[in-house]
Symmetry: C2
DNA sequence: GCCTGTATATCAGTTATGGATATAACGATA
DNA sequence: TATCGTTATATCCATAACTGATATACAGGC
């Protein structure tokens, strides 16, 4: 039960909002408004991030070096208002570390038969 | 991407603290102080719930019918100060629902190779 | 009997979040 | 080109949640 590998230490607490913002950027770069929508879609509306939390969180993540601003994706000259961000290596490490914790929790839940699905599986 | 089964609707937000308290009670009944310790142990100190959040959360969970007070476990006449709680069916359903969301996130993370481990697996 | 640890409880200060509001640019369309 | 709804970033404020300090008291070892 000892930690096999040191976890990167986040400079502030990784709240659900922070986590989901990082996760929403894990594949492509993304801009704020899109992140808002994606979180709501993926969690089927159970988590809704308002503009207050969102832009506050984006600034914080950028200051902490977990994301950085990038030019938009290839061929996107669409909307000049958009600001695109992408995960840094550090941000990716933090996200990975958080996901490990979640993975352990999910495994524990399976062992204890806490999920409504997969009763036998 | 539509929800195959309606989720039980929690009467308030299931924050990390709330979630971990529910999880800590999923097997046996438990008392407050023990829950505090267990959360700290299982998350290897990365989540620490102080007495403020804990007892506030326990009261709230009880009012909402997610946990209920019970007599201590068989053969425990140890410490009269302890208050033991156990999950209700409703509480178990809420916990299960939250775990489903986490399970989906973990699966997504695996597909996207976001975990530091299991690169090939 | 005294001290440390266990146990519940409350309170105050801080931090995080959500909703309202502001501003403006975009796209469609009339 | 005027107008309207949507997209998009940004700030502010009220509320919600959390942390740490403090209080109280019992248990067990010495």
């Amino acid at each position: 039960m000892t930690d096999p590998r040191p976890r990167p230490k986040p400079p502030f607490k990784i709240t659900p909002v922070v986590f989901h913002v990082l996760l929403a950027m894990s594949e492509d770069s993304a801009h704020g408004y899109r992140i808002m929508q994606e979180i709501e879609e993926r969690t089927r509306g159970s988590i809704r991030v308002g503009p207050g939390s969102l832009y506050f969180t984006l600034n914080r993540l950028q200051e902490a070096g977990m994301i950085r601003e990038t030019p938009g994706p290839e061929g996107d000259d669409g909307d000049a208002r958009r600001k695109y961000y992408r995960l840094t290596e550090f941000g990716r490490a933090i996200l990975g570390s958080e996901l490990e914790v979640l993975t352990e929790i999910v495994e524990l839940a399976r062992e204890k038969r806490l999920l409504r699905d997969e009763g036998v599986a």
